[in-house]
């Protein structure tokens, strides 16, 4: 049982915070916490798993109790015997390098008997069909596979409370189905589950209630039935995602904008394999409508991200020809005419100011032009800020700004909306549409059904 008694929290650095939260979650309840980005969901969750106040510093008042123990009066280790957390970022939640040890990690830390750990691992692996992921290096797993291991490693431990922080952010339709099964299994075992999430429809069958948060407060509480009855527009109004469980390959884009030309980019002879392995894909010929917003869809692990990397020439070993009108672009030319906005934009922002970031992309540095581009993306006021000090969405816009400045006519996006709430997703969608208006071809790899519906003008399924 989890009990919040008038809890307020303020980070020492000025960030989201909690204001006067009182809340009781009974044993075996499945509670969804939702709300727009920055509403305090993650902070609420950290109060339960003990990272607040034991890891993140700040000013905590009121008390949080889990199974009758005051979280702030005990140690993280003691809390962790009862509470397990699946975090949002699959890259940073593993302490081990091999998957098998990672499943055993929590139990080992409590000194459980190795024979018992073995049995527990066997049970979880067989129940959820994870055998193909065992004895692998976590550095060779895809984001979705990592998230599965993260869930499984929590399932191995004997816990009563399970916390999930936006677990679906990196998952495709198939991955969400499996996550759903895992949550179902936990519910059957009568575990208390607390989930912070924007994409909510997959949780409908299991939730016992839903809490809506905004600027650090619980603004509304819904029973499961009330919550399920909300219409799509109502959900959007609350900043939530309303995508129904749907395979992204079956979505029909509904952007409303039609084009008049019939120009095509023709990609031919693209083949790629990692050294000494089976080919990831082999594309003799692919037609990409020029000047459109093209969604590339397909299951996790089909090689979509790799396809983008090859297309923009990042994978040097991949040769291919791209024909745009009469112009033939071989490997080097392709690299110079295609810009990619990566999933983790932190990797592509190098300089110490936003303005400079845009200017190094320009053929010839032109400050006025650069400022104009920043203006068009609502970034003018941040021109002198350090790019890494901005919020996630702003960083992404800086990357787009430098793409525009580079003058390249094809812009690729790898999962631009993973983990975004409705407002931010729509913002990205507007940016994509604006890019199209300038005559550029935009190609996105995504699982986000709502983004496809709102922004794409056509979809190419990727087998």
């Amino acid at each position: 049982m989890i009990c919040f008694d008038n809890v307020s929290f303020q980070y020492t650095k000025d960030q989201e915070s909690l204001k006067g939260i009182s809340l009781t979650i009974g044993e075996g309840d499945v509670v969804l916490v939702c709300g727009p980005s920055g509403c305090g969901k993650s902070t609420l969750i950290r109060c339960v798993n003990g990272l607040i106040p034991h890891f993140y510093e700040g000013n905590l008042t009121g008390s949080v109790t889990v199974n009758g123990t005051d979280v702030s009066q005990t140690t993280l280790r003691k809390i962790s015997r009862h509470v397990g957390t699946v975090f949002q970022n699959p890259r940073s939640q593993f302490f081990n390098v091999d998957t098998t040890s990672e499943l055993a990690f929590g139990c080992e830390n409590f000194g459980l008997d190795p024979d018992e750990i073995e049995q527990r691992i066997d049970r979880v692996v067989n129940r959820h069909g994870l055998a193909p992921l065992m004895d692998r290096s976590i550095f060779r797993l895809s984001g979705g596979e990592k998230q599965k291991i993260a869930c499984a490693s929590i399932a191995v431990e004997p816990l009563d409370v399970i916390i999930l922080d936006e677990p679906s952010a990196n998952l495709d339709y198939q991955g969400i189905c499996e996550l759903q099964k895992m949550i179902g299994a936990w519910k059957e075992e009568h575990k208390t589950i607390l989930i912070a999430e924007h994409r909510i429809s997959y949780l409908f069958p299991y939730i016992s209630r839903a809490l809506l948060m905004n600027s650090g407060e619980i603004v509304k509480e819904y029973s499961a039935d009330e919550f399920r009855a909300l219409s799509e527009d109502e959900l959007h109004g609350l900043g939530l995602r309303a995508d129904h469980m749907q395979d992204s390959a079956e979505v029909i884009p509904d952007n409303g904008e039609r084009r008049d030309t019939d120009e095509k980019l023709i990609l031919s002879d693209m083949k790629f394999s990692y050294r000494g392995e089976e080919p990831v894909f082999d594309i003799p010929r692919m037609e990409i409508p020029a000047g459109e917003i093209v969604g590339i869809v397909g299951a996790n692990g089909a090689g979509k991200s790799t396809f983008l990397r090859c297309l923009c020439g990042m994978e040097r070993s991949c040769k291919a020809t791209l024909k745009a009108g009469d112009e033939i672009r071989k490997n080097k030319k392709r690299r110079q005419s295609i810009y990619m906005v990566m999933q983790d934009v932190n990797h592509q922002l190098f300089t110490d100011s936003v303005l400079e970031e845009v200017m190094i992309s320009q053929e010839k540095e032109d400050k006025e032009e650069a400022l104009k581009i920043l203006e068009s993306l609502d970034l003018a006021e941040y021109a002198d800020k350090h790019p890494l000090a901005l919020s996630g969405g702003q960083k992404q816009r800086v990357a787009v700004a430098s793409a525009v400045a580079s003058g390249r006519d094809i812009i690729l996006f790898d999962e631009p909306t993973s983990g975004l709430d409705y407002y931010h997703m729509m913002q990205v969608s507007e940016i994509l549409k604006d890019l199209r208006k300038t005559g550029r071809t935009v190609i996105i790899v995504t699982h986000d059904v709502e983004l496809i519906r709102n922004a794409c003008t056509c979809v190419i399924p990727f087998k």
Partner: protein, 239 residues
């Protein structure tokens, strides 16, 4: 097919043996203790890491390692006849490579073949404090993480046309370090938070699912290492 966890999976050597070998290699190859007196052992220790790579079926890495070693060794010898200032500087550099390379290969082998969990358990059996072993164990994750991040950043630079030899070559180094440090420090923080919510703490007894014990290959290596020290001791104090 039903999955059964095989807890007997282990690498050729026990983690403790690996550390003893690393220590011995540091003393006699990098440190060059005993010099001519240790001649035979010196060469055994130089080529042993290559044998370990072969045992892991890392054919290519083994071939590259031998090529670099032999190449720098003979180049360095050749440069010592009547060298100019530049040549002697180069010879010195190559000499340092021949001294360090075998131990670096050994260290890489250890990081690649040791499970974090095994390492923690082995250290615990030697009664080494957690305050030391837990921070050291992060190394096993840290190197591949840095490599992964730096590859991603490299790719992004190439895509944006910022490369060595292209425009902004001088800034390229700085451009690489800033995002690398930023992203590694974020990962580091999230990683420690995650590990702590799973009960990792100093001074508490852990168990380990892997069966850690000395096996026959360990015996050979341990005898070799001890002989090195004994032989060195004989040369140092009795002759």
């Amino acid at each position: 097919m039903e999955y059964r966890l095989d807890r007997n999976v282990h690498s050729l050597l026990d983690p403790r043996t690996k550390l003893l070998l690393l220590f011995t290699s540091s003393v006699f190859v990098v440190g060059n203790a005993g010099e001519k007196w240790m001649y035979v052992f010196y060469w055994i220790l130089v080529y042993l890491p290559v044998l370990l790579l072969l045992a892991e079926k890392e054919w290519k890495a083994a071939a590259v390692a031998v090529a670099i070693y032999v190449g720098s060794f003979y180049a360095q010898m050749a440069l010592q006849h009547d060298p100019t200032a530049w040549e002697s500087a180069l010879a010195l550099m190559l000499y340092i490579i021949t001294k360090i390379l075998p131990t670096v290969i050994l260290a890489r082998y250890i990081v690649k073949t040791t499970k974090v969990s095994e390492f923690l358990a082995a250290m615990n059996r030697m009664h080494v404090t957690d305050k030391l072993t837990i921070p050291i164990s992060v190394i096993f994750r840290f190197f591949p993480t840095v490599a992964e991040e730096s590859r991603a950043i490299n790719d992004a630079m190439r895509m944006r046309g910022i490369e060595m030899g292209a425009k902004k070559a001088t800034e390229a180094v700085e451009y690489r370090m800033v995002p690398l440090i930023a992203s590694c420090s974020i990962i580091g923080e999230e990683l420690s938070a995650a590990a702590m919510t799973r009960g990792l703490d100093v001074g508490k007894k852990r168990s380990c699912i892997w069966k850690i014990r000395f096996r026959f290959p360990d015996l050979i290596i341990i005898v070799l290492c001890l002989t090195c020290f004994v032989w060195w001791g004989i040369g140092r104090f009795f002759i």
